[in-house]
Symmetry: C2
Subunit: 333 residues, 2 copies
């Protein structure tokens, strides 16, 4: 594949080239992976940078409506907005957040917007790596904002937080009950908590929920990457399109503060380093498990460890021995 030509079309803002490139990075075929790596390497130097905005919200909080209203407001301001999804469940029918673009009809038609359905992969690690690469492609294509959303299946919020400059948690009023409760680890990752549906009969409940979360956030230690008054909890209404400009103002203010104080670049560098080391570790493990016999033996060792019949350290030593260029049987020691 002529990755140079494709890179040129992407940087020129060609949507179809971008879509094709994302399909490329989502592919697991070895030759596709090689092309993807070459393409990403070529695009790494563009220096284009978008605000990577992570957004998590459980089904029912009005995420699609929010993204559409929020995205429309931004595109109407002349900003170019890309929307990607991290959803390990999307291979299951109905699981996909964005598979049905008709849920965001207006935004899908907006000239400044690009909506990409979630890749239908179940392996979260794969989804994470591919999404990170799709984000890089969107940045090279010149988008101002890359919104990465997740429905929060499994560890997907953690992945999205790892991909974002700013992480937003969208909640519905009544977040205190178990059904709406925040999954552990998410409140810790949130930079901004938005209580949606703060309209009509729900307004009061939304304001109570907001103050509940504001109180909980005050119990958390201030992070170095936050100005004094962050994380924040705000009320919004996607339906009434109220609170959206305020939310955007807070998000950009936080992003600006982090830029000025060096946290932005530090975070991006740490994230890139993290993904690099992750990829190396996974690659080494994939090599270890390429051979079916080795894989089977490794699985046996893992099972022994789980059952408490072998210590992790001893089992790991044996697993590593499987890789050694040692005489046959050496790994059985």
């Amino acid at each position: 594949m002529d990755t140079e030509a494709l890179a040129g079309r992407i940087t020129a803002g060609d949507r179809r080239a971008l879509a094709r490139a994302i399909t490329l990075v989502e592919s697991r075929r070895p030759d596709h992976r090689a092309d993807a790596a070459a393409l990403l390497d070529r695009l790494a130097g563009t220096g284009r940078e978008a605000l990577r905005l992570g957004l998590s919200g459980a089904p029912g909080v009005g995420k699609s409506t929010f993204i559409e209203a929020f995205g429309m407001m931004l595109t109407e301001r002349g900003l170019r907005v890309a929307v990607l999804a991290v959803d390990p469940s999307s291979s299951r029918s109905g699981g996909s957040i964005l598979g049905d673009k008709t849920r965001m009809e207006r935004l899908a038609r907006a000239p400044g917007a690009f909506i990409r359905p979630s890749p239908s992969q179940t392996h979260l690690g794969g989804v994470a790596q591919r999404t990170r690469e799709a984000v890089a492609l969107c940045e090279a294509a010149g988008f101002d904002l890359v919104l990465i959303e997740t429905v929060g299946v499994g560890q997907s919020e953690t992945v999205v937080a790892e991909l974002s400059d700013v992480f937003v948690l969208l909640l519905a009023p009544g977040g205190g009950d178990e059904l709406q409760g925040v999954k552990r680890g998410i409140m810790e990752a949130a930079d901004v908590i938005l209580i949606n549906k703060a309209d009509g009969a729900m307004r009061e409940a939304a304001m109570r929920t907001r103050s509940d979360y504001a109180g909980a956030l005050r119990l958390l230690r201030r992070r170095p990457q936050d100005p004094d008054d962050f994380p924040k909890a705000l009320c919004v209404s996607a339906a009434e399109e109220s609170g959206l400009t305020e939310a955007w103002a807070e998000i950009t203010a936080l992003a600006e503060w982090r830029r000025e104080h060096g946290h932005w670049q530090a975070r991006r560098a740490a994230q890139a380093r993290h993904w690099f080391e992750e990829a190396v570790r996974e690659g080494l493990l994939a090599r270890l498990t390429a051979d079916p016999d080795t894989r089977a033996r490794l699985e046996t060792l893992g099972a022994q460890v789980e059952a408490g019949r072998a210590s992790p350290a001893a089992a790991a030593a044996r697993a590593l021995a499987l890789l050694e260029p040692a005489p046959p049987g050496a790994e059985d020691g």
Copy 2:
């Protein structure tokens, strides 16, 4: 080394053998690592199981006083209590939580208690692995409770949570202000939050703090491994030795519930599997970086990734090429 003899003395309850074995697992010398792996493997089959209780609390919350009072109460009930510390900072003078046993004089002298200062290692991964192995040794030695404490430097709380059956967070009254605020990720890991110093003039403040955290915990989604009313926040006073029996009752009730519902074994199996895979990945990476030239090249690649001059995927591909039995220069492609 005769690991079989050492294993025998440990299972017989020989303290000096246990101390020596812990020193062995803390050593980084390759031959010591091999002996440690053999010893742990030998002891993996004893089937002895202690309650692994993780305890985190920042300096100033009265952790040592609490552990002493709590440990004395338990040893007076005939329980055998081992106390281990995870403190990556302990190599720095004064950083050690337990380096000075005089801070727990009574407990250190109690016949049923075993106190082990934190290993003076700065590499947290190493500390985690060694601590996990020390816990296994204490279990094989027949302790009923292994209390793993941390001052919460870096990611040490996460490590301790990964090592524990039940994780307790110790706080001082007034947890709302920044100095006392809970580090992110800890509230989510906590099974029981204890507000210490609920005595004298602080009693009122402790009760307010308790209800603040109880409120915050209600905002978190119920975890499968929790009965309805957990996580809990309670008041205790190590100084007045009040609330300790109640805290112990809650901890054992939770542990019992998890045993009955299969979460206990599932968590231990997952933890063991996690450490096994972690050890394999680290071992592979260590092998990759054993050669100084390779290490230098890998470092260069990592720096390029951090600087955004190379994509993580492409850099990882090059890093993996360094391991290939390929013609010289192949990895420069």
